[in-house]
Amino acid sequence: MATAETYSYADLGPLMQRLTGDEKHDWSSASTIDILWVLYDRVLGPDDRFLLSKGHGPAAYYAVLAAKGFIPTDALDGFGGFASMLGYHPDRSLVPGVEISSGSLGHGLPLAVGVALNGRRTFVLVGDGELDEGSNWEAVQWAGRAIGLENLTCIVVDNHTATYGWPGGIEARFALEGWDAVRVDGRDHDALEAELSYQGGRPRCVVADIRR
């Protein structure tokens, strides 16, 4: 992937503009862009797995996959078209590097638990609104309370969109179920890297706070 190394964080904007065709759009406002970049640029190793559960608004994901050489940058043009490999929700059968097809909320975390059972370091990204889905909590409870799945990290992008909120904080709910949960500035690359790289004998929950 020699070409991949030529892309930097600053290149993500133009790559995302190829997807959206919107030159005025402030690409850096995408809630997941910093997390995804830090994961792919600094954290993920070849034997690790990253599952994007929050498949909505995948432009940042596609841009990072292109920047890192998983998909050709030409694929970014025609986003959502009939012949495009890139839809509004990712399909693992179409997009190299995509581990799970997502779009329907609440599926990635249970899948990640299954992957992590194989002993593999596994990351999954969910949204604070997505946590409304009860299926997530089946996974949170079992991974934390029942088996202590220490090689699993759940990243929660908290841009405060859940209609009824999470009184007491998302991290408190994970912690109650036996997770090692922290909140971090979702734009701070060094802080994200530090928290995502840490593993301490319990499943890890990193709530990435995004202020709008």
Partner: protein, 289 residues
């Protein structure tokens, strides 16, 4: 030994013999199986059961999930559709309870629409064994593959095992005689109901993919009777497709789409749905007169 006991025994043996096999349970069945590192009990969390099975499949395991029919097929239906199907992963789902084995438990533990629901998703092999021996063979075959397989166990059983992966003619009537196709454990009552009738009786235990070629070849008349141990008409469209090249008429027997609101024993329910020998006979006579 019942299908269910055979399944637990076979699954435990497979965990010992094959490093690729993992079993994911949601409480149901956990007390019937010996502990094993790849036997997971997720508690009463059926969505997680399917998600975890699919995650294990992503890692190359042959994952087996099992519960009562409604909790295996209906409650986590979207997980079956997406986590396994849309992700194009394999898995083996083995249900217990069939349509009304849980007769005293009532509607909550009954799912006669299971085969119809899974038939509506692409890529599923669906086995409806009619005998514990058939269950064991179907399960062994499923473990050896890497596709999506649903095996529907039942407390009802035919008096003997039969070959049913392809259409199997059990008793041959005269040329052009009515053609009866019995699925899974409906074979014994069907044979009893037709013992003195000039009909051909055939058998299928694998209903998806449906052996359309076998049916088209075997049918010589115009009258077709389908006897299925789940929702009536589940395979009607398959029969219609198989026989699209000729005029025919079809009687589709099976579990009626009603809220019966009755308890009792399985035999009561079989009779209520007209799936005992007497009921099948009544329906046949009305259809053929």
């Amino acid at each position: 030994m019942s299908m269910r006991d055979r399944f637990y025994r076979s699954a435990a043996a497979a965990l010992e013999d094959d490093d690729r096999v993992a079993v994911v349970l949601a409480e149901i069945g956990i007390s019937q199986m010996p502990k094993h590192p790849r036997l997971y009990n997720v508690g009463i969390r059926e969505q997680l059961m399917i998600g975890v099975a699919a995650g294990l499949a992503l890692e190359g395991y042959r994952a087996v999930a099992h519960s009562y029919t409604p909790f295996l097929v209906e409650r986590p239906y979207e997980q079956i559709k997406l986590d396994l199907g849309h992700n194009d992963l394999g898995g083996v789902l083995v249900s217990t309870g069939a349509s009304y084995d849980a007769s005293t438990s009532g509607r909550t533990h009954q799912a006669p629409a299971d085969v119809a629901l899974l038939s509506a998703l692409p890529g599923w092999t669906i086995d409806v064994p009619g005998h514990p021996d058939e269950l064991e063979r179907a399960f062994a075959q499923a473990l050896a593959g890497d596709d999506r397989v649903y095996i529907r166990m039942s407390e009802e059983s035919n008096s003997a095992r039969a070959e049913g992966e392809r259409l199997n003619v059990i008793r041959t009537g005269s040329e052009g005689a009515p053609f009866v196709l019995a699925v899974g454990p409906t074979l014994s009552p069907t044979l009893e109901a037709t013992t003195d009738l000039d009909v051909t009786v055939s058998y299928l235990s694998r209903v998806r993919p449906f052996d359309a070629e076998g049916l088209a070849k075997a049918v010589t008349g115009t009258d077709i009777v389908l006897v299925e141990p789940y929702l009536a008409g589940t395979s009607s469209a398959e029969v219609a497709r198989a026989l699209a090249d000729r005029p025919h008429r079809l009687l589709a027997l099976g579990v009626q789409n009603v809220e019966l609101r009755r308890y009792g024993i399985g035999q009561d329910h079989r009779a209520a749905h007209g799936l005992d020998a007497a009921g099948i006979r009544r329906s046949l006579e009305a259809f053929l007169q």
